[in-house]
Symmetry: C2
């Protein structure tokens, strides 16, 4: 029995044949572009035809450096459907990373947004090994000395639409690099089958639930695990899609939600905190919005409550990694919990939730022993499943560290409670090993973020002679707030033992961030590991007597 | 990149680990059995251990002849998860068919319900080639002369639970035979990957939408394309399940819906028509019920309306075949149709609807040319996709007829409208070729079923010298109704041209049915092809002048 391969082909078929009139809306510098799946399908075939004419063949890698636009979305289907591999490249990485990633992936053609992304590629041109063509995702030809540059609009206008070839489910269709907060970025490849399986999984109500009646606004950057893979589920379901363009501000997001009647969106907490702030001072009707999927880090519960109370919008925590194709778990109460008190439900919702269908997990301690699901035992999260990668591209040494007996070692330190809800305690590399015990930097950060006068908070480990490591908090106060280190420590002391309290509180103008918008703790650690910091008044490292010393 | 295989393993893992307390309820002769997914998981592993001890190995076929019970459900997971193949056998087939099917599949062990199914197996024992063990799905040992019979309860009690082996996604996990209204029954095999893909597809809101909060009652027989594969989606989602036991009557179904708060169920129209009749005369609270998925044949629109108006239950038409693992399309209005009039929406809902994700289709005429989607052009439906089989088991000559260039020839005659909605016109073998035109037996039957005094109606072709074929209707009137052939013809004439009207109206006590409950048109055709039937008054074969003759 040979069954038909799982590829993106039927998603394209379904969107363009069953929902030819459904709209894709894309915001650009000159306002909105609005077209149908039918037009999308035609342009996709034309783009594939153009790439084919440029010599792109099955198995070749085509890189994209772009924002969330319809033109980028066309590449999402054109490249895999012609049998090539879509390699989405983070548009805000430092030059060295872009150079490394493009060369490591052996990208032959790059599709690049005008402006900064194009300038980056132009600047790095001589450092690329294999790139021979650059296609600008625009209708305007940039001023450039490079002679292998065309615009996607001129290519699409002139191209012979491609007849889609037969595809194998095992051929690589996508590629992403992890953000690389430690060491060199690591590439992972997604096969046709993996993208198919992940999109179907996301569409089930057990994960996110994506339906034809949804209007999905893609706020997660399209280079960030393919905007958490929502664009694929959306096409499969025939949902209307909204692409908000480069770095949309809260005003733009609010306007798009109102005008396009967005029902579902996703992104990191900061985006939604900023949207709340904007809505405090501006009128916008976001009543169409049902759900926001939040990942990357946890949203403060105050933010979840405000969205629910004031806007009837449910924020759902999700967990995932580049290695799990984004969404791997989602937190919502089980049906029998609906009768619980709101507080108790929020305790569950604050977690990373239940693994999505297809994925399995276990918690493992330092000795490789499996830990019980008691909500207390802390260990490293291992996962496996059809949407979990099984290796890094071309990085045997990373594979050895990252995988074990068919399981991905996530590097996330977590607990699982008796109801099966996963809760991240910390990243393995961020957790603070103080004496023989662990202090969760994430716990402290989440608590700090609940303080009315704190806008950003990152907690890092600094080396300590006696306790091995001690926590230090970097805090950006709300503008105009009158906040002292003592205030901060007193606030934390309400919820945490003294030995958890940071030895130092450092007030900063802004917490440095990685290219994907996460707090850059690696940089913070480097900045502060040798610094002779003034001890915060009330700092508590001397109160650590209850903790055994493992040195 | 080798990704993890798509198998049933993660469904079992998710149900037993994330929803260990969720219930499975099973109605038997002594009342209800009620246990948790945890217990289900334990019993499933024990059953697999017992089968393993009986010598069942990876690749072996294990047949089941059973009703909808928890014991049968355990076999649904135990057999595929141990690497063997679950072969569900229709419990009400004639002996010759059962003999043929069991021998064709080379079943080695049979799991059989007590009562009639066991008697059938006992009676046929000497005619089986490979069967060596019979396990009765009961805790009572039947009186029998066979010496290789045990009960599942004694086996499970004594067994060492099996440690699940690694599975390959391409190994066959299931097997069903088509109902065989023409020729020998044909077997199809479902791989692990196909069951995984179909369950995920069914769970998406684009198909049925199955969620943890659902309570799913399996009314479709478990030997009928694995109860339309709902049991697999249910486990994946962690939904509560209700198994209503052997041939549940409307009173039982109504009581189970009320007591277990069923939200979702599925079955052929007759079941729901009978339930409506029952509810007319009896009190039962079915307010938990949201949706009934209806397939096999179309539900009369009056039935759909009554369920909606009186019980707030939505009936959704679905289409599928054994060859498409059941569900292949579902009919509900697209979101932009919600503003339409109810009549217009019902026109769409009466169709078989939109293909489910993963499946593609085309309409093909007698010359192999693809037909437009205009709602008028009538042709054979071809489908393909990861949930569509690509061959019949061990039947090269049937493959030649049934498949073409990777497409399944469904044998269904259909139209597709401009909105992409599939509508079945007839089975290729049932359509009536009168003159050069086609008359849909299904159209006439659906119209007849709308008549208040008609309970069952089957329309068949009988040979005709001049027109090649002419329609004849077999009708079971409502008991006590005073209905004449003239009444019936006059009723049809309101909606159809004279040349569509049946040449004869035959009143019967009951329309004969196949083992799967469909009208047995093959038997009807055989009964009436040579009969010298009295011409119905007003019969219209002489009014066929507007139709060209293709002889």
């Amino acid at each position: 029995m040979v069954s038909t391969d799982l590829t993106l082909q039927p998603f394209y078929w379904r969107a363009t044949n069953l929902f030819p009139e459904k709209e894709i809306v894309s915001r650009g510098p000159d306002g909105k572009t609005r077209y149908t799946y039918q037009k999308f399908g035609d342009r996709t075939r034309a783009l594939a035809g153009a790439l084919s004419a440029l010599g792109v063949e099955s198995g070749d890698r085509v890189g994209t450096v772009g924002w969330n636009t319809h033109r980028h979305y066309e590449a999402y289907f054109a490249i895999p459907l012609m049998g090539a591999q879509l390699h989405t490249i983070n548009a805000v990485l430092p030059d060295d990373h872009v150079e490394y990633i493009v060369n490591d992936a052996q990208d032959e053609v790059l599709l690049v947004d005008p402006g900064e992304p194009f300038k980056t590629i132009e600047r790095l041109w001589d450092r690329f090994d294999d790139v021979r063509e650059v296609i600008v995702l625009s209708d305007e030809h940039p001023k450039t000395d490079l002679d292998c540059v065309s615009t996607v609009e001129e290519l699409v206008a002139d191209a012979d639409p491609l007849e889609w070839p037969d595809l194998s489910e095992d051929q690589p269709a996508g590629m992403c690099y992890t953000s690389g907060t430690t060491g060199k970025p690591k590439g992972v490849e997604y096969t046709q089958k993996m993208i198919y399986s992940h999109a179907m999984m996301v569409a089930t109500p057990s994960a996110i639930g994506v339906d034809e009646s949804d209007v999905i606004m893609h706020v997660v950057p399209m280079y960030h695990v393919n905007s958490w893979e929502f664009p694929f589920s959306a096409a499969m379901a025939g949902a209307k899609q909204v692409y908000p363009g480069p770095s949309p501000d809260p005003a733009t997001l609010a306007r798009l939600i109102e005008e396009e009647e967005v029902t579902l969106t996703a992104g990191v907490p900061t985006v939604w905190i900023n949207l709340l702030d904007y809505l405090d001072d501006h009128d916008a009707d976001i009543s169409s919005l049902d759900r926001i999927v939040v990942g990357g880090s946890a949203a403060p519960s105050a933010v979840m409550r405000r969205f629910e109370d004031e806007y009837d919008v449910v924020l759902e925590h999700a967990w995932g990694m580049t290695e799990t194709m984004s969404i791997g778990s989602v937190s919502r109460p089980k049906s029998h919990m609906h009768g619980w008190s709101r507080e108790k439900r929020f305790e569950k919702r604050a977690k990373q939730g239940l693994l999505s269908p297809g994925v399995e997990m276990k918690l493992v301690d330092d000795n490789g022993e499996e830990l019980p699901w008691d909500g207390e035992s802390v260990g490293e999260l291992y996962v496996r499943g059809p949407t979990v990668v099984s290796e890094y591209y071309n990085r045997p040494e990373a594979n050895e560290e990252g995988f074990e007996d068919g399981w991905l070692r996530t590097g996330d330190i977590a607990t699982v409670d008796a109801d099966g809800y996963l809760e991240l305690v910390d990243r393995a590399k961020d957790i603070i090993k103080s004496g023989g015990e662990w202090i969760s930097s994430i716990d402290l950060e989440n608590e700090l973020m609940e303080h009315d006068d704190i806008t950003e908070a990152a907690v890092i480990a600094v080396p300590h002679d006696r306790w091995r490591e001690r926590p230090v908090a970097c805090i950006k106060p709300k503008s105009g707030a009158d906040l002292t280190a003592d205030d901060v420590l007193a606030f934390l002391e309400e919820s945490y033992p003294r030995w958890w309290l940071p030895d130092n509180i450092i007030f900063v103008d802004s917490v440095p961030k990685t290219a994907t918008g996460k707090f850059d703790k690696k940089r913070l650690r480097e900045s502060y590991e040798d610094a002779d910091l003034p001890r915060a008044p009330g700092g508590s490292s001397e109160g650590n007597e209850n903790v055994g010393d493992d040195d």
